[in-house]
Point group: C2
Chain length 323, copies 2
Amino acid sequence: MSTATVLPVIAIHGGAGTMSRASLNAGQDAAYHTALQGILLAAQDLLARGGSALDAVSLAVDLLEDCPLFNAGHGAVFTHDATHELDAAIMDGASLRAGAVACVSRVRRPLRAARAVMERSEHVLLVGAGAEAFAQACGLELVAPDYFSTGARLEQLQRALVTDATLLDHDAPALAFATPPLDESRKLGTVGAVALDVHGNLAAATSTGGMTNKRVGRVGDSPLIGAGTYADNRTAAISCTGTGEMFIRAVAAYDICARMAYAGLSLDAAAQEVVMKVLPAIGGRGGLIALDARGNLSLPFNTEGMYRGHARVGETPQTAIFA
Amino acid sequence: MSTATVLPVIAIHGGAGTMSRASLNAGQDAAYHTALQGILLAAQDLLARGGSALDAVSLAVDLLEDCPLFNAGHGAVFTHDATHELDAAIMDGASLRAGAVACVSRVRRPLRAARAVMERSEHVLLVGAGAEAFAQACGLELVAPDYFSTGARLEQLQRALVTDATLLDHDAPALAFATPPLDESRKLGTVGAVALDVHGNLAAATSTGGMTNKRVGRVGDSPLIGAGTYADNRTAAISCTGTGEMFIRAVAAYDICARMAYAGLSLDAAAQEVVMKVLPAIGGRGGLIALDARGNLSLPFNTEGMYRGHARVGETPQTAIFA
């Protein structure tokens, strides 16, 4: 494929879940659409100026981490011990290089730490205090652990502790500026991005705060290469969101690439198979965003909704929440 | 396939690497063959009495962890900070359930902690202090961190610190009772087991101490489902050993299953493809043990040797080190 034929594209997600009752009679989706659109425009602009897929997914996830509407970075959920533990991963489809961090609580931008692991270490995955020391040595910004805290997320933890429930995401319907369209008590929170650049390279990135009231030390699929994040120019770039343990057991992201490479499936057929059959067979709920090197996109989910959007260079960004 | 046709089998590995000069003129492989044989006999006996594949790989890895010849459990290598960080994973091919721990320093038997995560939590991967607290809550034995230390491993760290090298495994040729046949300065240390039981079920388990002088918080492929460990009755059970980061990027264990399921490759063809082509293409060195539900075995490695062996019920255990 000539590079001249590549139309760069960015796709992002902000978590999947079921429809909230509040959203049925209110136009309060607006804040989510606006946030997604702004992020898509920024990444689209970067790609239009010849920026790399790696830089596009990095920028998009930076912005998603900073947005308190989404469970990643600032606005991350609380663990059982009222701490935050953040996970992130990035992968370069051209070289199959990858980097990830898990269980970090003081790195302001976990995705940047993941990228530093990829570019500045011989490792793929660093966790906990070791990951934080590495990020600091790389000059990345560390913050006090309460930087990530928001009142809405603390309220969710307090509710979860009262009911002793381990919530998959968060349980506070009242974020400051909008009632979220997806039921926050059953939303599967993660953010992610996939991109194709003008050179025909793919990249994927994922970042998450995990589950409210989760056990300290729990790592989900997001930072695990092959499970929640994967990119290979020969097949696809994928970022997942959902019940992480099932995505790990199914090796969900890589399974899409394998079905394309070995069974000859199209991107959409492979992604649909994994999200609509493989994952439900073991109780897996959620969705993913998938992009191949020809610019084909597939954004399937088996929940009622998934915050998502995409933007091709030269076209108006598209955002959606429900099916 | 009728269960009556299944002949149970266990296979194990104790790391891959290059031949040491000392081994060229000495019969000092004996200690390794004896250790592998004893472990195979114990697991073979368990399988002969109708034991499950899960129990067989658990027993084999327990014994490998306890043996100071191998880099897992007692005899694990030291991190840069002179600590130990142990990783382990287990997967059940019948249910696709899996459990893993990473960066634990006080759990005597990391593989048992991984199994507890699988059987007694809703999670797949727990790391660090959270994993240790969970293991303790499950009644597993915790030990002082220096339980894992041996003089030989400490000497390796001291050598590595002097040269400022990050060794893939360990660098002390003089273990107490034998000069190891594989060059300890270039050995890729991990232990693992795969088994097929009389019911036709597959299981896989892997445990490791990682790399001498490794950065604190580094997690390799061993505890990552799909990378260093995978089991699915429909395809194969796999446990890997090698340069972990490359196995992660290639999703090595799951890739074998995917090539069997989607490309129709035999177990051996799929395993050879991954070990001899996919991994070398990104600089990956090491090997793996693979077993399918018909009892076919493949034990490929792209290094000069891999400590390995297998035993079918009713047959004499076979062990080997070099090609």
